[in-house]
């Protein structure tokens, strides 16, 4: 009797389980959502070229989501990409410690890569694109370049 009850329950469970298809949600991305709109509040972008300020042409990477927290600004005018964030004079703190970014370059896309010297997987931010790093990829960037 007990076996029969267990059998019925298992059958019911299996039917219930299989009758509810798993919804195929799009997986999270490197950038949770690369924005073209102004859904996120962009930080003020300065025309003054100096470290610590997000300028036009910079790739500005933040240690917290929504372009908040301490920021590392990689200046296109200094280098057209950086092969190893951990060795950058001012911005080493952001290596494997990033959760959002904005490509403030007006004319080129920025590619942020999981490993040094443009290796591993690279995520693209179009000119003016910005977004949060998805949880799966947060704190997992080591180099970038513009192209």
């Amino acid at each position: 009797m007990r076996r029969a009850i267990i059998g019925v329950l298992l059958a019911f469970f299996a039917v219930t389980l299989l009758s509810t298809p798993a919804k195929a949600e799009p997986e999270p991305s490197y950038f949770d959502k690369s924005k073209l709109s102004t859904a996120l509040q962009k930080p003020p972008i300065s025309t003054i070229m100096e470290d610590g300020v997000c300028n036009w042409y910079d790739l500005c990477v933040f240690e917290s989501p929504n372009l908040t927290g301490r920021m590392a600004d990689f200046t296109y005018m200094d280098t057209t990409g950086h092969p190893s964030w951990a060795t950058h004079t001012y911005n080493a703190f952001i290596a494997n410690n990033d959760e959002s970014a904005i490509n403030a370059h007006l004319f080129l896309s920025a590619y942020i890569c999981t490993n040094t010297f443009q290796s591993g997987q690279c995520g693209r931010l179009v000119p003016g694109g910005y977004g949060n790093t998805a949880p799966t990829f947060a704190n997992n960037s080591e180099s970038h370049y513009w192209n």
């Binding site: 490197y30 057209t80 591993g120 690279c122």
Partner: protein, 295 residues
């Protein structure tokens, strides 16, 4: 709860299918052009992405000119910087010709070899480009938005970046897969036997001793690296494992990926048409009429 259980069952099925797939036995390292992942068919290759960027710049220049602004860039196509394909440096160094010429570097495609092209812009020009603080004659979003619309970069009903997103995820999953980890350990042991102490194939790329690809030590290490990859079939195993993950993702996101692929094809076609109209005689052939699938 039922959804979670069902999702777990789906994931378990996918994992079983992935595990059940036979790994390639060949110990030949596929050459660069043969290194393709299933999701590569759905997204722009680096070269195609560059074509879109080049077209975007052309449209930006035109728009700014209409509003009386000259941008500090030209409409000439920019050369490719960085990897030529998404798999070229995905599993570390893979290309024998590059290794022989540049070691672990990118040679002429090294971003550091390309000086910045742009001069600082005045606030009025920035306003025309971005639409912020511009006059009434500049549309909302400025020339940026106009160029994006002309290239259909943000279409309704499709997320063009979905293939890249999924590709990111498959890469991360593959890195921690037991078969890939075993292959990486095998490669590391092979390198160690040759006198090089690296835990992963990304470590020699990051080695501060290697910077310009000109030292014999770097070139020799790169040769050993590729020989060890061939002996342990690291690239073949990694590619096979990640391909299985991607095929499952494609099945689970079929509708969204079809839309993304179509959107990317449209954007590429619009970009090619834009570039062809600018310099039909001098535009590189890679910008013309190539299919959305990467080279």
């Amino acid at each position: 709860m039922r959804r979670h259980l069902a999702a777990l069952l789906t994931a378990a099925t996918a994992l079983t299918a992935s595990c059940a797939q036979a790994l390639p036995r060949s110990t030949a390292t596929p050459d660069r052009t043969a290194l393709r992942l299933p999701l590569d068919d759905y997204q722009h290759s680096p070269i195609q992405g560059l074509a879109v960027t080049n077209a975007y710049r052309v449209l930006l220049i035109r728009c700014a000119q209409r509003h009386g602004r000259i941008l500090p860039i030209t409409s000439s196509p920019r050369p490719l910087v960085g990897p030529r394909t998404w798999t070229e440096r995905r599993y570390g160094l893979t290309d024998a010709a590059d290794a022989a010429s540049y070691g672990y570097g990118l040679g002429p495609r090294d971003p550091a070899r390309h000086p910045p092209e742009s001069a600082p812009l005045d606030p009025a020009t920035i306003a025309v480009i971005t639409g912020s603080g511009a006059g009434h004659d500049v549309p909302p979003g400025g020339c940026q938005e106009e160029a994006r619309k002309a290239l259909a970069m943000a279409p309704a009903g499709a997320d063009p970046s979905l293939p890249e997103h999924l590709s990111m995820l498959s890469f991360q999953r593959s890195r921690i897969d037991s078969r890939v980890r075993a292959a990486v350990e095998g490669w590391s042991a092979c390198m160690r036997a040759a006198g090089h102490s690296y835990a992963t194939p990304f470590d020699p790329i990051a080695d501060p001793a290697f910077r310009d690809g000109t030292s014999e030590k770097e070139l020799a290490t790169a040769r050993t690296d590729l020989a060890c990859k061939k002996r342990t079939n690291l690239v073949g195993i990694w590619l096979s494992v990640e391909s299985a993950f991607q095929r499952t993702m494609i099945a689970q996101n079929a509708t969204a990926l079809r839309a993304a692929k179509q959107a990317n094809e449209i954007t590429l076609r619009l970009a090619q048409e834009t570039l062809a109209a600018v310099e039909p005689a001098s535009a590189p052939s890679s910008y013309r009429k190539s299919p959305a699938a990467p080279e």
